[in-house]
């Protein structure tokens, strides 16, 4: 089901604001999503857009804690063809996922408990791209754009 994978990510110009959140506990999951929300609000995303972003961050951050133990989430403001948004890069050095397409299907999960997380996060974001190498780790890159008419 290759349509689950959106990408590769388009060329986006970083706009300067960049925050790196180290992830190793459930408190960090909250910190990551709150940092993402405040960056989104600052950039002018609506409350709804910020909540979609925060929810998606919560899912990918939890996956890191649950399946790998530690990793990091880079949050940055980006610009593409005049559109502004928040890009999230969640990285871990875990054992990786053999079949990314399967991991992104509803109800699928290697741990058997979190089948909703990744496909759900994908539905909340405008861009979603996941790369995983067995033995090396996983990177999820996703972007939420500021909606039209929000200057």
């Amino acid at each position: 089901m290759s349509f689950w994978i959106v990408g590769p990510p388009k060329e986006q110009t970083p706009m300067g604001d960049e925050v790196l959140v180290a992830i190793s506990s459930d408190r960090d999951v909250v910190r990551a999503r709150q940092t993402g929300r405040s960056m989104a609000t600052q950039l002018g995303l609506s409350r709804s857009e910020a909540t979609l972003l925060a929810t998606a961050i919560s899912e990918v951050a939890r996956n890191i804690v649950e399946y790998v133990g530690e990793g990091q989430i880079l949050l940055c403001t980006v610009n593409l063809n005049g559109m502004e948004g928040i890009k999230v890069v969640a990285t871990d050095s875990g054992s990786g996922i053999e079949n990314v397409a399967t991991a992104l299907q509803d109800g699928e999960s290697s741990g058997g408990r979190l089948g909703l997380g990744l496909p759900g996060a994908r539905r909340l974001m405008d861009e979603f791209h996941m790369v995983s190498k067995v033995g090396e780790g996983t990177t999820v890159t996703m972007t939420k754009w500021k909606g039209p008419g929000r200057g």
């Binding site: 506990s25 459930d26 408190r27 999951v29 909250v30 999503r33 709150q34 929300r37 409350r47 709804s48 910020a50 909540t51 979609l52 925060a54 929810t55 919560s58 899912e59 939890r62 509803d106 979190l114 909703l116 997380g117 496909p119 759900g120 996060a121 539905r123 909340l124």
Partner: protein
């Protein structure tokens, strides 16, 4: 910070004050399930007005409390899901079809009063 659980008549009211970590969500789940037995509560209200997100973990946990509460002969209602949180849940695909929800604390209490009254009627008749 633990979520305070207040007793109001035959009901327990858990009023979430801030964003919750997964550990705090689990702690709330355990406390509610314990207290429903301790207090012989007929209903639980969980006020989620202050929750920043309701993601897959939080929604699964709330659902577990609601269904377990029902198995113990009481009923739970979630109140205060904010509009942006609600629409994120729908877009995510987090369904709570079998869970009671109400707009706010007042309507949650009214729901439980009606539910309790109907049950008492059924028992009496």
């Amino acid at each position: 910070m633990p979520v305070p659980i207040l007793k109001q008549g035959h009901y327990l009211v858990a009023s979430i004050q801030d964003a919750l970590s997964d550990g705090e969500v689990l702690e709330l789940q355990e406390n509610l399930l314990k207290q429903i037995g301790d207090f012989r509560a007929r209903g639980i209200i969980v006020d989620v007005t202050a929750m920043d997100v309701i993601d897959s973990f939080a929604s699964r946990s709330l659902r577990t409390v609601a269904l377990t509460t029902r198995l113990r002969g009481a009923e739970m209602v979630i109140v205060g899901i904010q509009p942006d949180v609600a629409s994120a849940m729908v877009q995510f695909g987090l369904l709570m079809d079998d869970i009671n929800t109400a707009l706010n604390l007042e309507e949650g209490l009214e729901f439980l009063d009606r539910w309790t009254a109907e049950r008492t009627d059924a028992d009496g008749g």
